[in-house]
């Protein structure tokens, strides 16, 4: 069966690729991304693009739409480069039987990858070039004399015409991707760069869209998992007789500490999971939350010296005007609105998993490993889940479904309970940042920064099931944690985690690639073993670090009696970061003065404005955000009134999609800044529903959001999904300081903490 035949067939088929149909290992090219060689060779044009006999273009991609418009943007990209209309492109996302392995869809890397690497855009450009050459031969004209519009190639003067389908319809190109195939420039774009309405809209709004939660397979059963009652608890015994009378119950599945049930109907599976009597042996207990941040500093750690000019200590020791501050950031959740769900159909000879994972190929490898199946007999098909914002329960539930289906040899759908999702997902890391700097004559003399970030597990990748809860329960270890002292910085500062503030020079040897000007600099980062699983959550590490850097920059600005925007620009040398700062300030009609506001209200409601900016991951998108807030001085309630953002992510694929994603990022950042925090007791996570883990509801007083897009066309496209959210907590915190003179150094800014800051008591608390 070839790919085209397969695509005509039912999505429920199990496709087993025989060894004979696979290229020899030597012929497999390593993709230009963090991926493994697969049976789909990314160096071959036919791996990406197919033109059907009807002129329809099918494009295959390994980057999936996580609910933020990537499907639409990729369809635009293929249509643009191939010069066909949007409705002639059919995009197949992330099906391991037909799509190239592009690793994981994450880290604001999809747009840069699609556009800039030897990838989807280059494939479409290669295909167009090949079609033009075929047309030139067919028509007997030089390719320069031809023009193409909507899949029809015409001789400019001869008027001869030939269509794509006449040239190649249903046949393979048999070409390698050409690195020299000319791409259409943003100036030529007619489909890309336009605010095309997202293609899923009508189906979504009318309840027709198929989420992974809606996948139904003939003969499908329902599974539920039974997670331990506390962190680290292990199974002592399971009393199967406790659920024997539940109708529809098919099987109790116990494998190491993994426990699950399978039943005919969802309600029966839930009932069985609740009633199943299990004796658990308690775990080792959890560290107290109220001293957790301090305890992070005392753990063995894996250290990285990011930059070190070696003179920081001496400069800070002799400076007159020295500031110290500690910033803390809590564990936060992805908290997807739909709990994670997957459907697996495991038979003796192979498995198919319908999964909302960001990583179809890595998931394929792990499922093969868990079930002892040959890699080629496992197929993972991406079906969209609810917004994930990083590593939510998607991977774990895919493994859950595979294990349960394997146990009953029938298709099984698993959707986690709210509690199972929240208590066991891979949280965004808790973090402590110690800042220490000196100012003199309006300039920063030296900046010293030390970071402690809690981590355990993470993305399972191709071979590490123990990085998420299901794997650990099955007996696999998470990525080992090995403490080590920091080596000397080497190479060039890339600032991928925004560990270094934007304002330092970032010198390693003579190589200075930071975005700022502060010469005396030291950034030391410690990774500490976390009691909970952690994993990438929208702007991982970047959001924690940037909160600390951008608020501390504000403290330095106040100490230097300077306007916060001007003070930032004074210490920056990255033109793009300076440009977004200026644009945001202009759009906000920035009130240029020193913070805090001298006319600070002593009672009632105070108002203020704050700014924060970042070069996301050093060079993967630029944003400045100004927030205007009011603070109720009696209750400590912070109410953002307005956000003004200026964003530069290079050439824009779809300005409407970008605005939508940025608006969402800003408000999600506001929720994370104001209310979101994971809590626990001595045994277990206590944030297990929407009352114990708060999120801002749709019915809140929604602030006005204004977004200025700087559309730069002469540079590579960057990511945009995580840029704006990165600066929100700092922009709000700085506005609170401007309004009240009180500095709040702990996320979230609960009313209790704001009250404490207003009263000048307590640095931070658990």
């Amino acid at each position: 069966m070839n790919r085209r035949e397969f695509l005509k067939g039912s999505g429920a088929l199990v496709v087993a690729f025989s060894a004979a149909s696979l290229p020899s290992p030597g012929a497999l090219a390593q993709g230009p991304f963090d991926a493994h060689p697969s049976h789909i060779d990314p160096a071959k044009l036919d791996s990406w693009i197919a033109v059907g006999g009807d002129g329809m273009v099918t494009a295959y991609t390994g980057k999936c739409d996580l609910g933020q418009g990537m499907f639409t943007a990729q369809t635009q990209l293929v249509a643009e480069e191939l010069c066909v209309s949007l409705d002639r492109v059919k995009l197949i996302q992330c099906d391991t039987s037909v799509c190239p392995d592009e690793g994981t869809t994450s880290g604001s890397q999809s747009t840069p990858t699609n556009f800039n690497a030897s990838n989807l855009a280059q494939a479409a450009a290669t295909a167009r070039e090949a079609l033009m050459n075929l047309a030139a031969q067919r028509l007997g004209e030089s390719a320069d004399e031809l023009a193409v519009a909507d899949g029809v190639i015409r001789g400019k003067s001869s008027g001869q015409r030939v269509t794509y389908q006449e040239l190649i319809g249903s046949k393979q190109f048999n070409l390698q991707l050409s690195a020299t195939a000319k791409r259409r420039s943003p100036e030529q774009w007619t489909i890309l760069g336009k605010p095309i309405p997202s293609l899923d809209r009508a189906a979504l709004m009318t309840g027709r869209f198929e989420f992974v939660h809606n996948v139904r397979v003939p003969g499908m059963l329902h599974g539920r998992v039974v997670r331990p009652p506390s962190v680290g608890a292990t199974v002592a015994s399971v009393d199967e007789s406790s659920v024997r009378e539940i109708p529809g119950l098919v099987k109790i599945v116990v494998r190491n500490n993994f426990v699950g049930v399978v039943a005919e109907k969802q309600a029966q599976a839930i009932e069985a999971s609740r009633r199943l009597k299990i004796k658990w042996k308690s775990g080792p207990g959890l560290p107290p939350q109220n001293t957790f941040y301090d305890s992070l500093r005392k753990q063995p750690s894996r250290d990285v010296m990011v930059v070190d000019s070696k003179d920081v200590e001496q400069r800070l020791a002799t400076a007159h005007d020295v500031l110290r501050a500690t910033y803390v950031y809590p564990y936060q959740m992805h908290g997807s609105i739909g709990t994670a769900c997957a459907v697996a159909d495991v038979r003796s000879d192979g498995a198919t998993v319908w999964s909302p994972t960001q990583s179809v190929y890595p998931t394929r490898s792990i499922v093969a490993k868990l079930l002892g199946l040959p890699l080629d007999n496992v197929r993972v098909i991406y079906v969209r889940g609810s917004g994930c914002y990083g590593l939510n329960g998607a991977d774990a539930v895919s493994f859950d479904a595979a294990i349960l289906s394997h146990a009953v040899s029938k298709p099984v759908r698993v959707q986690l309970s709210r509690e199972d999702e929240m208590a066991w997902e891979n949280f965004g890391s808790a973090c402590v940042v110690d800042q220490h700097a000196a100012v003199d004559a309006g300039k920063i003399l030296a900046w010293d920064c030390e970071i402690w970030m809690a981590s355990k597990g993470g993305r399972p990748g191709y071979d590490r099931p123990g990085n998420v809860i299901t794997g650990e329960l099955l007996g696999y270890e998470p990525e080992p944690f090995t403490p080590r002292t920091a080596a000397e910085p080497a190479g060039e500062l890339r600032n991928r985690s925004n560990a270094a503030p934007s304002y330092v020079l970032g010198c390693i040897g003579r190589n200075c690639s930071g975005s700022g000007t502060v010469r005396s600099e030291r950034v030391l980062s410690h990774s500490v073993l976390s009691p909970f699983f952690t994993g990438p959550l929208r702007s991982p590490s970047r959001i924690q670090n940037t909160f600390a850097h951008e608020c501390f920059m504000d403290e330095l600005s106040a100490r230097a009696n300077s306007d916060p925007v001007e003070f930032r620009i004074r210490h920056l040398r990255d033109e793009r970061l300076i440009a977004v700062l200026k644009s945001a300030a202009e759009a906000a009609k920035w009130d240029k003065r020193v913070s805090a506001n001298r006319s600070v209200a002593k009672s009632g409601v105070a108002s203020g404005r704050g700014v924060a900016c970042v070069a996301y991951e050093g060079d993967n998108g630029y944003v400045a955000l100004i927030s205007e807030v009011t603070v109720d001085l009696a209750s400590g309630r912070v109410q953002p009134r307005k956000f003004i953002a200026a964003l530069d992510c290079g050439p824009i694929s779809n300005p409407d999609g970008l605005r939508n994603q940025t608006e969402g990022g800003i408000l999600q950042g506001m929720s994370r800044a104001l209310v979101e925090e994971v809590t626990w007791d001595d045994q277990r996570v206590t944030s297990t529903d929407w009352e114990s883990y708060r999120s801002l509801y749709v019915g809140i007083q929604v602030p006005t959001v204004e977004i200025v897009l700087l559309n730069r066309t002469g540079v590579p496209a960057t990511g945009a999904g995580e840029t704006a959210i990165t600066v929100v907590a700092a922009a709000i915190g700085n506005a609170v300081f401007d309004a009240t003179g009180a500095r709040i150094r702990q996320v979230p800014f609960t009313t209790k903490r704001v009250q404490a800051a207003l009263a000048g008591t307590g640095e931070y608390q658990g």
């Binding site: 809209r201 027709r208 989420f211 709210r418 529903d689 019915g699």
Partner: protein, 162 residues
Amino acid sequence: MAVRVIAMSKISLKVNGSVHEVDVDPSTPLLFVLADELGLRGPKFGCGLAQCGACTVIRRRQAVRSCVMPVSEVGQDEITTLEGLGTPEKPHPIQQAFIDEGAAQCGFCLSGVILTAKAVLDENPHASDEEIREALAGVLCRCFAHVRMLRAIRKYADTRKA
């Protein structure tokens, strides 16, 4: 925990204009009947605790949470889900307003947002922004498409009044 007797029984259910017969345990949450027995995609499981709104359907002109309502409680009442309002080809005006405004990201929360807003505006076409907000006080959208959603609801409310 008290052991419940779970017996199947035939229940007839009026959903989106048609009558369906299902054979389920009467204590089954309405949501599972809609999603698993009838294959509807609009109402979704978000929390099972009536805390988020993803499972919202309309019953007796009210937005209700189908994840906590036993199917036996529905009786003869008609249930309307998100797909019962309109089709992609002919969306309901409130769905059209959401389409026009691009008022979603992942879209998983839309049953809660659209049906709750529709119910409050059906009840009171002159509902103020404050009243609309109050109605949405228990509806979650974790992608935070709030700006566009409130704009779409306002647009629908204004055209409805006119």
